[in-house]
């Protein structure tokens, strides 16, 4: 990698805690990663790993109380988002950084038409008149592939299908031409065929609008198709951050390898039994000392149980991993 580029977003040692009735829970623990302009990166992990909290933290959307950003920096275009006030953050949201969520029905207000909601956003952020905002909205709806946008703009969310609603959300998110789009499980609630449509849309728009995209998902297949780089999270920490080709071909962290092995895939020779990662994710209230994955790891050592590994660079492709003995066997592509 010859050219030194400045990242668009740089998250450094971010820590977010939540007060619960059982005590304080550290939802994410010293999470660090960079996002460069025009690049799609994926944050992958299972439920409870902290990927959604990370996405919300960037935009200051952590419900507080009970949550709060304890320490760390979120550098975006030279400013530390973690230190901004609510009104400063509101200017950035929707305009420079946008976010779309998993459930479009709850994210859209059911008593207003989609046109109303989109026009509001445009009038607030871009200072357009109602007429101009309506025109821009219709154009945007067309761009996200909604047929007959001039009519649909006056419809209510419940009149649209799940896939359409998600596209409306994307249209709203992109209407102010943001530099960064955070998509939190945007297709998890959708059917496979609709998912394909929406992902294709996101890819197209990413090119057209020259945005960076952070795609938060649990689906490694989605990551393989859309992202250039992926960050794997486990139990509140980043365990691996690698370019896509490297991640799938030669994962560095045992968790990544275990995950890739255990996913059912279509293969020519069916397996009698799927490989599994034994055990379960530890309780965030009852974390072990040392590496959080130690109990389930195939190459655990004494050192792993005592000492928590730190995220360190590996190789020269800008990858990093948090493991005392990084590097897993090269994986063969599965024959279909």
């Amino acid at each position: 990698m010859a050219i030194e580029r400045t990242p668009l977003l740089s998250v450094q040692d971010l820590v977010v805690e939540f007060s619960t009735e059982h005590g304080v829970v550290r939802a994410i623990d010293r999470v660090s990663f960079d996002v460069y302009p025009n690049e799609t990166i994926g944050i992958v992990g299972e439920s409870g790993c902290g990927k959604t909290v990370t996405g919300l933290a960037v935009l200051g959307l952590i419900p507080s109380p009970p949550g709060r950003i304890v320490s760390g920096r979120i550098l975006f275009q030279g400013r530390d988002l973690a230190k901004l006030s609510e009104s400063e953050l509101r200017e950035i949201r929707g305009r420079d950084i946008s976010m779309i969520f998993q459930e479009p029905m709850t994210a859209l207000n059911p008593v207003f038409t989609i046109g109303n909601q989109m026009i509001d956003v445009l009038m607030v952020h871009r200072g357009l008149t109602r007429r101009q905002a309506r025109g821009a909205s219709i154009e945007m709806l067309d761009k996200v592939g909604i047929p007959v946008p001039g009519m649909r703009i006056d419809e209510y969310p419940h009149q649209l299908s799940g896939g359409m609603r998600q596209r409306v959300m994307i249209a709203m998110a992109l209407s102010c031409d943001p530099k960064l789009l955070i998509a939190d499980e945007p297709t998890t609630a959708l059917d496979v065929t609709t998912q394909a449509q929406v992902l294709e849309q996101i890819n197209k728009l990413q090119e057209e609008f020259h945005m960076a995209v952070i795609l938060i998902t649990h689906d490694l297949g989605v990551v393989a198709e859309t992202c250039r780089r992926a960050i794997v999270m486990y139990c509140g920490r980043v365990v691996e951050n690698a370019a896509i080709e490297n991640l799938f071909r030669r994962p560095l962290h045992p968790y990544t390898a275990g995950l890739l092995d255990s996913i059912p895939q279509i293969r020519a020779n069916r397996l009698a039994e799927l490989p599994i990662i034994p055990g379960r994710v530890p309780d965030l209230l009852n974390l072990p000392d040392g590496c959080r994955f130690a109990e389930r790891c195939c190459k655990v050592s004494e050192r792993c149980r005592r000492e928590s590994p730190v995220l360190e660079a590996f190789g020269d492709a800008g990858d990093c991993v948090a493991c005392h003995t990084p590097g897993m066997p090269i994986r063969e592509t599965v024959d279909v």
Binding site: E46, S47, S161, G162, G163, M164, D191, V192, T193, T194, Q195, A196, Q197, L199, E200, H218, D219, L220, G221, V222, V223, A224, E225, I244, E245, F248, G258, L259, L260, S262, I263, P264, Q265, I266, R267, R270, L271, A272, E273, L274, P275, I276, I277, R280, V281, T333, V334, V336
Partner: protein, 329 residues
């Protein structure tokens, strides 16, 4: 469909229909029918697994429940070992229920929150008065062992367990009556990826070691391929293609099947798929399009498709059945 000379198959479904009335208006009249299941036929032999795949709204969950008469079928028949299950009275039904059980998708809603694990698993035995109290206690421990849980969990309540563990309790409950057939309605869809494989392995073991037949319902083609012997693809209440698992993945015939397969994101960045992206949305089951229900989105639609409902034909070779409902064949 079945040879009169041979033993009847374990489960045979003929022309099964389930419509839900939509009421409205001043007098609560029936205004429309949601045709959730609109004429489905298939056979499942002893110990075999039929995978049922389709997207939301295709009717697969309703089909699973209609077979067990949790929803009473509106039309058609379900034959168990050759006997008409759909015609049984409510009383006779209870006894027959022992042979067919169900596992649900939602691990959090499928276990009664105020009952202990032991009570939940023992309930089928209590209802059908099987064994003495002591024998039932033993059986609960046995069943927990089959699904990989120790006897110490007996007095715990569901909220103390994780999703994967609750699914396993649900499976133990379904096994209590020694069923020959289990409807598995998306049993792993709500679980984390690393837990899915654990539960799938439990189900595979049940197939191998206990010879239980399954109707495995899922939207995930990879999971279905792993676990099924035969696969049926559903769209808007009908099975549009059905074949053995090898034949379906090697040579899918129906355009919808092809689109479905191409849409799955593959966790392999080197394989850039030629994705068939379907236009439009799934039509409402209240108002299915005339002719072939898929014609509104089909990339290979012909004039005939808009008006004539395609017949189901068998295009299989080598004696293996491969049925398709499409005008292309």
């Amino acid at each position: 469909m079945s040879d009169t000379g041979k033993t009847p198959p374990l489960l045979e479904v003929r022309g099964l229909k389930k419509y839900f009335p939509v009421r409205g208006g001043v007098f609560n009249r029936v205004m429309a029918q949601v045709r959730a299941v609109d004429g489905v036929d298939f056979i499942i032999e002893q110990g075999k697994t039929l995978g049922l795949v389709g997207e939301s709204g295709c009717g697969k969950s309703t089909l699973g429940r209609a077979i067990l008469r949790l929803h009473e079928p509106t039309g058609g028949q379900v034959l168990v070992d050759g006997k008409d299950f759909t015609a049984l009275s409510r009383k006779a039904l209870v006894a027959e229920r022992r042979r067919m059980q169900i596992i649900f998708q939602d691990p959090f809603a499928s276990l009664s929150p105020r009952r202990t694990v032991a009570q939940i698993i023992r309930e089928p035995l209590d209802v059908h008065r099987i064994g003495t109290v002591e024998e039932r206690r033993q059986r609960v421990i046995e069943l927990l062992d089959v699904v990989g849980m120790g006897p110490e969990v007996r007095d715990r309540y569901p909220h103390e367990f994780s999703g994967g563990q609750r699914q396993r309790v649900g499976i133990a409950r379904a096994l209590a009556l020694n069923p020959s057939f289990i409807v598995a309605d998306e049993p792993v869809s709500a679980l984390d990826v690393s837990v899915q494989s654990q539960v799938l392995n439990v189900i595979s073991a049940l197939k191998r070691e206990h010879g239980i037949a399954f109707l495995f319902i899922s939207h995930d083609l990879a999971v279905i391929q792993h676990i099924s012997d035969e696969i049926g693809v559903m769209y808007l209440g009908r099975i549009v293609e059905r074949a053995s698992v090898e034949a379906l993945y090697r040579d899918p015939k129906h355009p919808y099947t092809k689109a479905l397969m191409s849409a799955i994101p593959v966790p392999d960045p080197t394989r850039k798929s030629q994705r068939i992206v379907l236009g439009g949305d799934v039509p409402s089951p209240m108002n299915p399009p005339p002719g072939c229900p898929f014609h509104t989105r089909c990339p290979e639609v012909m004039a005939k498709c808009r008006s004539v409902v395609p017949e189901t034909v068998d295009v299989g070779d080598d004696g293996a059945s491969h049925v398709v409902a499409c005008h292309l064949y």
